[in-house]
């Protein structure tokens, strides 16, 4: 009997509590919208807090209650926005996807230091201690405040000691933009792969002394962009991404190599047999990559061509096309070759 007593007692207690809980769950039932759970399921579930709510669950609740737009989840992007729209039965127009870029590439190789910093490895702390060790007051300190802020592990400090964003992993949430004490991280539309990787407002002659990739405000990029999409503001060009401009010529015209082009290989121009030798493209080419005499088919020097596409519009017989891909495969061979072989 002594063995049976605990069995009986625990069984009885279990039954009592079980009945109590099941009665309570009926009596204390709280109506909750099932679409909240459905929305939680399609959200990224990283609780990054970019939407302004502590968790994805709180954000889902806010959407259902109508406090927030269905497009509010930036890391989720267009896919999540459409999924939420499907659940709620509304049409959504997601915002253009953006990604973060670090507007500085002057690492230890390119820029000079004015002192050695041996304190807390954090950008904010370094700024407090005499505005950081770099001579450039707008340069990336490379101490990784943004790396720790990134919920997606998309920023790393390169061997050159500047922060670099991984375009594949970045969702454009803007957590790093908010945390950078020098405000040199910016969001650009994902389709634009070119940005100005310098934030220095100093005069050109001074910049040259402490950074080899610093913007000297020479305005060559402004001149290379006749559409007016680049304007100068306090010794620094400002790129207007809303303008229909690809900035390729501007990037390649920079004498200090301040621009960063995230595209590994831009497509090259090719001129086919339709060419009647009008030489319009020759004069349009900013890098003199096209050569040829009047009346003869022109040829493109593929090493010189930067893929800006300026000659495409000029050709009256549509003999010019862009060849090649924007990326490259790891193996060095295309998939198509592998299948046929």
């Amino acid at each position: 009997m002594t063995i049976l007593f605990p069995v009986f007692l625990l069984g009885l207690l279990g039954c009592v509590f079980g009945i109590m809980l099941s009665v309570a769950s009926k009596k204390l039932y709280v109506f909750s919208d099932h679409s909240i759970q459905k929305i939680i399921d399609v959200l990224p579930q990283v609780d990054c807090g970019v939407c302004g709510y502590q968790s994805c669950a709180a954000f889902a609740k806010a959407i259902v209650e109508g406090k927030r737009d269905a497009t509010g989840c930036i890391p989720g992007g267009a896919k999540t926005a459409h999924a939420i729209g499907d659940i709620l039965g509304i049409s959504v127009t997601p915002a253009e996807p953006e990604m973060a870029v670090v507007k500085c590439k002057g690492g230890k190789k390119e820029s000079t230091l004015r002192c050695l910093y041996d304190g807390i490895p954090d950008c904010h702390a370094a700024i407090l201690a005499g505005n950081g060790p770099k001579t450039c007051v707008d340069g990336c300190l490379g101490l990784g405040s943004c790396v720790r802020a990134c919920p997606f592990d998309a920023i790393h400090i390169s061997d050159n000691e500047v922060a670099v964003v991984d375009p594949e992993a970045c969702t454009g949430c803007g957590a790093c933009v908010a945390v950078c004490p020098r405000s040199i991280i910016d969001l650009i539309p994902v389709v634009h792969k070119i940005f100005l990787a310098c934030s220095n407002h100093d005069r050109g002659a001074r910049v040259k002394k402490y950074c080899t990739v610093g913007c000297t405000a020479c305005t060559l990029c402004v001149k290379a962009t006749p559409s007016g999409a680049i304007t100068m503001a306090s010794n620094l060009p400002v790129l207007d991404y809303a303008a229909q401009e690809n900035f390729v010529v501007a990037a390649y015209s920079c004498p200090s190599d301040c621009f960063t082009d995230l595209v590994k290989f831009r497509p090259k121009v090719n001129i086919d047999a339709k060419c009647n030798g009008c030489t319009l493209c020759v004069s349009a080419c900013p890098t003199n990559a096209i050569s040829g005499e009047k009346g003869h088919r022109h040829v493109v020097n593929k090493d010189k061509c930067i893929g800006c596409g300026l000659c495409l519009d000029k050709c009256p017989v549509h003999a010019i096309a862009m060849w090649g891909g924007l990326g490259y495969t790891e193996g060095g061979k295309s998939n198509r070759l592998r299948i046929t072989a």
């Binding site: 605990p6 625990l10 207690l13 509590f17 769950s25 709280v30 807390i120």
Partner: protein
């Protein structure tokens, strides 16, 4: 039962015998993710509520179910059952009647259901009162539960402050993360030894 003994019990459970720093129970939430002060404070509030209710309920179950059948050896098993069921019930009650409180502490409740410190307080409240030396009465068990929860809240808030400072300090690589938290907790624990002997007796002419 006088106010003096109760006050002394509160000081005892909260500071002198602080569940985290003196009894060294319930370290897991400290090492967990409560880096923000608000998170730590709400977690502490949740623990206080749960400890207060479970300690009193366990006292009742012990007094009227286990003791008459001299089945105190079933303490641990029965109390686990009681705690888990009560936390479930508490979750429902909060969601129904105090939605604002549920929003703040709802996420912590399932974590607390399996927290060792809650079970420890239940087991302690069927033992002897450290102040009077006699077994706990119902009111004393309730006060003990709430005060221990408040001590837990204090510990969480202290550690979250320490963690906040640690984030900006140059901790040696080998000590980063858990080791430095343990060390800091140990140092605070040493400081808590200073509460030993804290007495309200002089205030009441004792």
């Amino acid at each position: 039962m006088n106010i003096h003994a109760l006050l002394q019990l509160v000081a005892s459970s909260m500071l002198i015998n602080n569940i985290v720093f003196t009894l060294l129970i319930g370290f897991c939430p400290l090492c967990g993710a409560y880096r923000r002060l608000s998170g730590a404070a709400w977690m502490g509030v949740a623990v206080t509520i749960v400890m207060g209710t479970t300690a009193s309920c366990c006292w009742v179950i012990n007094q009227y179910v286990l003791v008459p059948r001299s089945a105190q050896y079933l303490h641990t098993l029965v109390f686990i059952l009681v705690i888990v069921s009560l936390v479930q019930l508490l979750e429902m009650v909060l969601e129904k009647f105090f939605p604002w409180l549920y929003e703040a502490i709802g996420v912590y409740l399932p974590v607390i259901a399996t927290n060792c410190s809650v079970l420890a307080i239940c087991l302690l409240s069927v033992g002897a009162n450290p102040v009077t030396g006699r077994p706990f009465t119902f009111v004393e068990a309730l006060v003990n539960g709430i005060a221990s929860g408040a001590g837990f809240l204090l510990a969480l808030v202290l550690i979250s402050g320490v963690r906040h400072r640690l984030e900006l300090s140059n901790v040696p690589a080998a000590m980063r993360g858990l080791p430095i938290i343990f060390l800091s907790a140990g140092l605070i624990s040493l400081a808590f030894l200073g509460f030993t002997g804290l007495s309200f007796a002089p205030m009441f002419g004792g």
